[in-house]
């Protein structure tokens, strides 16, 4: 499980649709299908709901993996499905919405809120695990991310609001620092928690516009080329 999504409220979807009356509904067969927010069944339910409220549903379809680019053939199949629509309601994560907007000039509207990268900790209960900060700290914190699991994202230990293993922000929420402490202790690494951690380089995170990456990193130009 990776991208965790939740359906927007019907009022919010109605607000986005605005004057568009003919709607194509597009779901995603991967994360939203697993989270039951935008798979086959949810697309049907959304179409029925909108139909009952007066919208005309021109088509409904589920892309197998909405975040992957569609093949030429698949695009050919999608085009007629969107033809009569005035808007496309996409039941996928934000990346899925973004991809669908490459296939059409119609407004592509998110039916889901993209919440976080996480896992299904228990059936129907999802837990965030990654803030995509750009420089993974898990190695220094026994596999528990202080940015995600501490409500203040503290790097140097728990605040004064950690009580009985819970966070002051929500009595149901485990204190990330209690988790880190306990696991570091079990690993015999408590001593490392006495070191003052270096300042986080947030320039690798959300501070520089859309992040870009070439993977694998292209090799540097040969030294010989520079000399020449």
């Amino acid at each position: 499980m990776k991208s965790i999504t939740r359906q927007k409220k019907p009022e919010e979807i109605a607000r986005m649709l605005g004057t568009a009356k003919r709607v194509a509904v597009v779901g995603c067969g991967t994360c939203p299908a697993m989270a039951e927010t935008g798979g086959l069944r949810e697309v049907e339910e959304m179409a029925t709901l909108l139909g009952e409220k007066g919208w005309e549903i021109v088509s409904r379809t589920v892309l197998p993996v909405a975040c992957e680019p569609l093949s030429y053939e698949a695009r050919e199949e999608l085009t007629p499905l969107l033809e009569k629509a005035q808007a496309v309601l996409v039941m996928a994560c934000s990346l899925g919405v973004r991809m669908v907007s490459d296939y059409t000039d119609l407004p592509t509207l998110p039916a889901l809120d993209t919440l976080f990268i996480g896992r299904e900790a228990e059936p129907g209960f999802f837990m965030e695990e990654c803030a995509q900060c750009g420089e993974c700290l898990l190695g220094d914190y026994a596999g528990i991310c202080p940015i995600v699991h501490c409500a203040k994202g503290l790097f140097n230990g728990p605040c004064g609001g950690s009580v009985g293993g819970k966070c002051e922000v929500d009595p149901e929420l485990p204190c990330g620092w209690q988790l880190i402490h306990d696991r570091m202790k079990a690993l015999g690494r408590l001593g490392e928690l006495s070191l003052v951690r270096p300042y986080k380089d947030w320039s690798k995170s959300l501070s520089g516009g859309a992040r870009r990456a070439r993977i694998p990193v292209p090799p540097p130009e040969k030294a010989g080329d520079e000399e020449a």
Partner: protein, 305 residues
Amino acid sequence: MKSGSNLEKVLEAGYFAVTAEIGPPKSASARVIEAKGEQIGHAADAFNVTDHQTGVVRLCSLVACTVLRRMGLDAVMQMLCRDANRIRLQGDVLGAVAMDIRNILCLSGDHVKFGNHPEAKGVFDIDSVQLVQAVRIMRDERKFICGEEVGSEVPLFIGAVENPYADPFEYRTARLAKKVEAGADFIQTQAVYDVPKFRRWMEEVCEAGLDRKTHILAGIIPVKSVGMARYMQKYVSGVEVPDELVKRLEGAKDVKEEGIKAIIEIVQEVMEIPGVHGIHVQAVGWEEIVPEIMERAGLLPRPVL
């Protein structure tokens, strides 16, 4: 002397120090700060001004401390990692020194959830330990976090906080040691009601030798009413109010007087604990009670150095 602040002088001279908190108003009135300063200015060695405490917007600590400095009072400016990034924080440190503020208290800050703008984004670019370290390096090495030079002296007495009642209990002393290593000259603790637990923690602190590297000031929050005691017991994370205290107040004819008596008893017990160098009284919204408590605890007059 690192800063020459009154608080530093009092502590270095070996006196039992008293700091008191002044809560700024939800207004632009410097007069409110002045009035509080006039009312309790004689009853403590330095005055902390909170900075948007519990996430509620108020007149900022930097300016309120400036008002107190103009009155000749020693001020402790509180700085939060919640509301500013490293650029703003370091800039405010310079601003504080420019306005003759000589003490600074570095905190993470209460989570925005508890404030009056719960939808605000918490910044937390750096954390409180890193802030302590940054200010210490500004002072001792005249360098910003980026390594560039600071163009003047930064004489500051640096404070941090610790909560002996929070968890994981066995990590609290190590975390304190980290703050001291980062550069904390003094530590103000969360409110002490459960004195035996505080004593146990102080034993650990002394065993680790931290009492000789920093000055620990025990937090004191006067209790005005049964309702307040119950509220703190239930809703203020990390504050442990023993049932006995609540019962004692419930059974009292004059609750306010009983509350003052109980607090004075705590102050006197805390004064006897080895390694405790002072107290930090947080009577926010009830500042006028500070002189009476100090008088009756035998802590007035304050030393003039």
